[in-house]
Structure formats: C-alpha cells, structure tokens
Symmetry: C2
Subunit: 452 residues, 2 copies
C-alpha cells in the first residue's frame, strides 16, 4: 500500500522537488538572499499542503528557519526532523554538464545543486509525511525544523534552539543529510566530524610590484603563504599545530576493527577518483582517516595575476581558505584559536598575516544502543532486506552536537545519498531510486519508532 | 631654443599622449586585440605628422609592429629607436584611484596604465623627433620600430628582425623602457635580466570533492602545489632547481663595488614599500639581488573556492604562474627546460602535474665604453648637470640580446622612469617632468651621437 502510493505519485513528487531545486538558495552568496527566502516559502507551502497543523517561517539574524508540526496525540512520541534547504555555491559552473539550477534526470539520477545535499533528502521527509497522512498511517507526532544556513555554519540555529526549547520538545532527532555505503550495503552514520573554517591573508609590499624591479629583494606573499601552508603538515601527514591532537579520542582496537569491517575496495576508490595513490595520516586506514581522524585542507587559494596570459607581478597579497575537520573530543572554538595563534606565530617577519574564522561545528558520535537506532536498523531491514552497517562519516552536521547539548536529544542519521553523488561539486546528483527508497524507509522508521 | 619649443608645446604633447593612453592596448587579453591595433594606428599617424619619410604597420602572427624611418643622408649614422605600445593588464582594477585608461595629472604625474611603461617613454621619442624636425636640428638618420607584444614576450619580433636585417641596418639601438635612480641621480641601465615565465597545473582527484567526505584520505592539490613551490627555494633563499646557477656570471669584486656605489637607502626602500624586512639570496645586497642575481617568483596562484564565504571543497586542480628572472649567461630556453624537468620530478605520486612555458627572454649587459654610451652620458650631463651612474636593472627587455645576436648592434638604455612609478601595478604613473626632461635628453643624445 505504501509502496503503491509512492510509485503512483512518483512523478508528482519529483516535479515538486524539481521546482524547489530551481530556486538557487546559495546561502554563502549575498546576491542569492532573496532566493534563499523563496526556497523557504516553497517548503512552507509544501509542508502545509502535506497536512501539518502549523508551519511558520522563523526569522533569524541570517536566513530564516522553516518550522512545522503535526501533533496527533500529546501522549505519543515525537520525532523532530532536521534538515537544510540552503545549498553550496555551484561554481566552478563551467564544469557542470547541465545548468546547476535546471534539474534533469540522467541514468535515473537527478542532476542539480542540492539534489542530494540537502533539498532532495529533506523532501523525502515531506513526502513520507504526506504518504502517512494520506494513508492514515501517521503513528506519532512530528516536528520539522529546516534551516537555511547549514552550508555557512548554522550561525543562527543555536540561538533559535536555545530560545525554543519547549516548542522543540521531542523524543528523537531524525536527519537525512548523510550517505549510504551503497544500495547493496545500507548503513547508518554514527559519527560525524566537526569543523573549523579559517581564512588567511598574507601581505607583503603595500602594492603590487614589478617582479623584475623588485623580485629577489622583496618577499613574495604567495611564496610565503605556500611555505606556511606546507609547514602545517609533517612528513607523516600529521598536523603540526601545537595542541591540535590533545583532545582527540583514540579508538579502541575493537572500535577500529568494527569500523574497518565496512566494505571498502581501495582500487575501486582510487579508480573512481582517478588518482594513482591515496595520501593521509600515517598509521591509519582510509576509513579511519575520513571517519575518526582530524584533517586540514586548503579549500581555496588565490593571489597575484590569475587571468589569461602572463603578468610579471610581485603581488601585495595572497589569500587562502583553510578548514579543519574535527573528531571527538576536539572543540571547534579551541581549534580555531590554536590555528590562529599558530598561523600568526609562523608568519615570517617580512610579511603581515591576518587570520579570520568563518565558522565551526562540533564533532558528534551517536548511540547505537538507543531505541531510535534499533528502529532505524529495523526500518532498513524492512526496505533493503539487510541490516545496516554503522559507519563514521567525515562530513559535519554541527547541529547534532548542539541538539545533544541544548535539548538532550539523540540523533538518528538516516541518510540515503552516496559518496559518489558529488555533493559540493559540479554535477551533484541524487538517485531517483535512493529518493524513493528513502521515502519508504522513513515511513518504516515512524512505524518502528512508534512501536517502542 | 629646444627647451623653449618643448615647453611651449608641452600641453599639446601631453594631450596627444593622453589620447594614446586612452586606448587599452592590453596585449595579454585577446578581448583587447582591436584596441592593440588602434594603438598602433594612432602611433603611425603621429609619426607621419612628426615628419618621417615612411611609416608602415607590419603584420605579424600576433600584434603588429609599427616601423618608420627618416633618412636625411645615407652617409650619416643611423639611430634605431625601439619601444612598445602594448601595456600590462590593469587588474586589480579596484585598486586604481582613477580609471587606468582615463589619464589624469595629479601632483605633476600622469596616472594611467602605460603612462611610463612604455607609451609615455616611446612618445618622448616621437616628440623629440618632431622637435628636431621643426627646429631643423636632426643630425642623423632615425628608424623607429615599436612593437605590440613586449608585455607578452615579444614572440614575433625575432622573426621580424631576422626577416628585415637590411631595413633595420643602423649604428645603435636606443631604448627608453627603464628607470632612473632618481631625478637627482640620473643613471643609464647597463644590464637587464632575462625571463622564463611558466604556468603549472596540479591535479588531484578527477573532480572537486567534499572535504569532509574525502579530506584526510585524498591528497589536496593545493596543499601539494604549496609544498612544491616552497621547495623551490632553500633556507638561504637560493633556487633549488638543479643546474639553475651553472651559467650565472659571478661579478668581480670590482664590479660588485661599482654596482653598490649607486645611492641606496634601505630604510627609505622598506618604508616606501611598507615592509618590515627585506628577503633575498643570502650573501648579496639588495642592488645585487635585483640587478645581477637570478630570482624565482610566483606571479599568481589559484585553486578551489575563492568566492565569498566558505565552501568545504577538496578541489580537483590548483594552478600557479611562476617566473624566473635570469642574468648573464643563463639561457631562457635552458632554464625553462630545467624548471619543467625539476617541477615534474618533484611531483608527488598522488597528483598529476602539467607544466607549460609562457615566454622567455635573454639577459643582456650593455657596454659602457662605446661611443653611444659616452654620447648618452654627455646628453645626461647637459640636461641634468650630472654624470649618469651605470646601473643593473632587474627588469627584462629581451630584445636587447636579440638585437646583439641578429643585427650585431649595441643598445643604449636611456630610460626616464622611476622605480616608484608603479609600472605593472595599480596607479601606474609617469612624471610630467620626467617626460619633458626625457624629450630634451633624447635631442641632446642625437647631437652628441652624430658628433662622433
């Protein structure tokens, strides 16, 4: 009956999602401020037509939060669904095979920015809710909190949560913003990395100079920035910032063994990425490097002449965006401070260095012994016919730690994407099959969770 | 009489130059191809109205060369004036106080791209020629060869010179594309550095990745590029490319002493650039580092997300433009090859590296014992009242070596700019006083040179 409803409404589900994906809700780009709000309003309308009691657009200092709820019986358990309707910038746009905000289906996959992260996954919840309402199967209460600032650090969500603890009262948080190992190997994410995102500016001379007239006598800020970045890792791939690893929780042998049980084929992994060799912290496997170890990556760098042809300039400034993924029990604010101090301290005397923090988020580990986790596990078994594997995910959903701290609630990370979905990249996509299985699995979760 | 003519025609001289500066003849940017030609046509018109016998626009595979001549008597010596009418790109445009192609005079300085390098200095020769024609003072023959590709490596000038040896027959080359130490310390450049200009591309994964999902396990091409760039210098500021210094001509103690006689105030130098410390090859003075030592600078770097806000991307590619200044007896083609081999050899196994060469030029040293040099020296004494100091200039004018090789001709580098003119930078400018003194000194040079 559920399968039937989903498959017979499949085309409408997708065309509604497509309309949402057409709105370029890029939270990082102030030029899209209006689009972000439009995306919020679209979601509000779809939630209300799906049958929620109340839905509102809650203002924040930044982009708004969409909140909705359906209370069928106060004595029943309540599921709080969290997600985000903002998306990453689409650039480099020239690398997209089809325009990022004109969704198309190719090989049964939806190609568009946000198709997987996270509009596509949020919309599974809207349609799962609609399905349960239409079929009179909603077994418990549900609340939706969908924000528009996840891709820029959820700066205003903390305040919203603190100020609305009563309203957000629930028994469990349900989030679909992660990936499965594969459709053959369903998995549930039980750990997430935190984040500290920095931007640095290195200034040499007070103006761009002619590299012939001054080159060799005046320090070049690009060369200086490169040296400073290079020094942030040692020969074993470890991060050299003093104190960086102090709070890192080392896994037990048993935990490491369990983690490395997840199916992983290094050759497939390398082939899919087109690389000859992997690189990472010495002494850890790839699953450990991406799941339970902290990392530092330059996300962007720029300086001097980057246009066509040649310009013999010795530039005044060089810039980089540098982010660190954190693991339990690192604290984002502390790492941000350690980075700032260290980067200032390694600045050579012939340049000036500015360090600013973009945003951060705390790492989190979710329980595998909770009723909610068991319900999620059963839901996957029902739909996929296999027990899901618990995995550690390298990405960050800072809200998970925030929820635990502010609301005392555990989270279930029921994601249906795939690592190969190219989220944050050109040609982001999401399997139509993943979308439909997701709707079905979410419905199954409600049933299992309400049973408890 | 000469002074009189110059000062009474000053305003017209400048307004003609301004019209020329308004044409954005940026040779590096294909969008300005038409403007480059317009600038050539403008020069052709001004040369013919100044009184040359013939003037033509000579086509090349790239931007055209303007050639003109005035032969008053085949038995008299001939001066071949070389210069370029193309200019550097204006970016970063937002750092200009006034639009780069709308010349204005502030504090008796002309502010515009090309005001000094090299339209302003070329136009001194056009007006000096006009002055001698009008006053019936032209004492010898003159030929003009002004190209439109100097800022992109003079790729087609070599062919033109080889194919027009008879036409270009002369006794001396005269070029104004360099700087004086100051108006109080006139100088003649006797050495120029060569150039090898490279561009590198480092590729990691075959697409931009989510830095959370892959960070720590997949090499980041920006981090890799930074390490490779950092390794190009050792702790003494020496370039680590094997064989790079093999052909470098070391100066004798006497030559070094003479070179360091030039007035130089380190504090003034640092204050003018707004830097706390200088940096360069250990064991050499600033004048040596910029004049007689080879250097390596990153002129531009880019990769990943460089827009507003934060994007947690592990990029597929990182790029850099890297140029090396060469000194006698380094050979540009050889250094380009050494760099390419070395950069490929230091590429770690987890990235792919592409290296391409933009352009190069040979270093050159001009004689100080030639009749032409003596004539130039006398001309400066006449106009400035001081004997000019011979200096080594860090910039490159590849044509000087080419002239020696192909035409067997020496060059006199009679430049009137100042290092503080910000050529290749925002707010490039050229002193009105420098321009007028230049016209006068050039006229004096013709007289002195014809005497011999």
């Amino acid at each position: 009956m559920i399968k039937e409803y989903i498959s017979s409404n499949k085309d409408r589900f997708l065309s509604e999602l497509f309309d949402w994906l057409r709105i370029p809700s890029v939270s990082a780009d102030s030029r899209h401020k209006g689009d972000v709000r439009k995306a919020a309003e679209y979601l509000k309308e779809k939630l209300s037509s799906a049958g929620v009691d109340t839905v509102e657009i809650c203002e924040t200092k930044g982009h708004p939060i969409v909140y909705a709820e359906k209370i069928i019986n106060a004595s029943l358990p309540t599921i709080l669904v969290y997600g985000h309707y903002d998306v990453q910038p689409a650039d480099p746009i020239n690398l997209w095979d089809s325009p990022p905000f004109e969704p198309v289906i190719k090989d049964d996959k939806i190609f568009a920015r946000g198709s997987c992260d996270d509009k596509g996954q949020v919309y599974m919840h809207v349609k799962a809710f609609e399905t349960m309402m239409k079929l009179n199967l909603l077994p418990c209460n549900v609340k939706f909190m969908v924000e528009g600032e996840e891709e820029v650090g959820s700066d205003n969500l903390g305040t919203f949560v603190k100020e609305n603890k009563a309203k957000l009262k629930a028994d469990i948080i349900l989030i679909s913003d992660t990936a499965l190992i594969s459709l053959e190997h369903p998995s549930i994410t039980t750990g997430l990395r935190g984040l500290s995102y920095m931007e640095v500016e290195v200034t040499g001379p007070n103006r761009d100079l002619h590299s012939g007239v001054y080159g060799g006598a005046v320090a070049n800020p690009i060369n200086a920035l490169c040296s400073m970045i290079d020094s942030l890792h040692d020969e074993n791939g470890r991060i050299t910032i003093p104190g960086f690893y102090d709070k890192v929780a080392e896994l037990t042998a048993a935990e490491r063994e369990a983690l490395n049980k997840a199916p992983f084929d290094l050759k497939e992994y390398k082939d899919e990425l087109g690389i000859n060799e992997i690189k990472g912290e010495k002494g850890y496997t790839t699953l450990e490097r991406t799941g339970v170890r902290p990392t530092l990556d330059v996300n962007g760098i720029w300086g001097g002449y980057t246009g066509e042809g040649a310009k013999t300039v010795l530039p005044s400034k060089a810039h980089a965006k540098i982010s660190m993924r954190l693991v339990p029990n690192q604290v984002s604010a502390e790492i941000t401070e350690l980075f700032t101090k260290h980067f200032q301290s390694i600045a050579p005397p012939y340049v000036n260095v500015k360090v600013m923090a973009h945003h951060g988020g705390e790492p989190a580990v979710t329980r595998t012994d909770s009723e909610a986790y068991k319900a999620a596990s059963k839901a996957f078994e029902e739909v996929f016919g296999k027990t899901p594997i618990p995995t550690r995910d390298g990405g960050s959903i800072p809200i998970v730690a925030l929820f635990k701290k502010e609301l005392g609630l555990d989270t279930v990370l029921m994601g249906f994407g795939l690592d190969s979905d190219a989220i944050h990249s050109p040609n982001e996509h999401y399997g139509v099959h993943n979308f439909l299985l997701g709707v079905e699995t979410i419905v199954a979760f409600y049933k299992q969770f309400a049973k408890k």
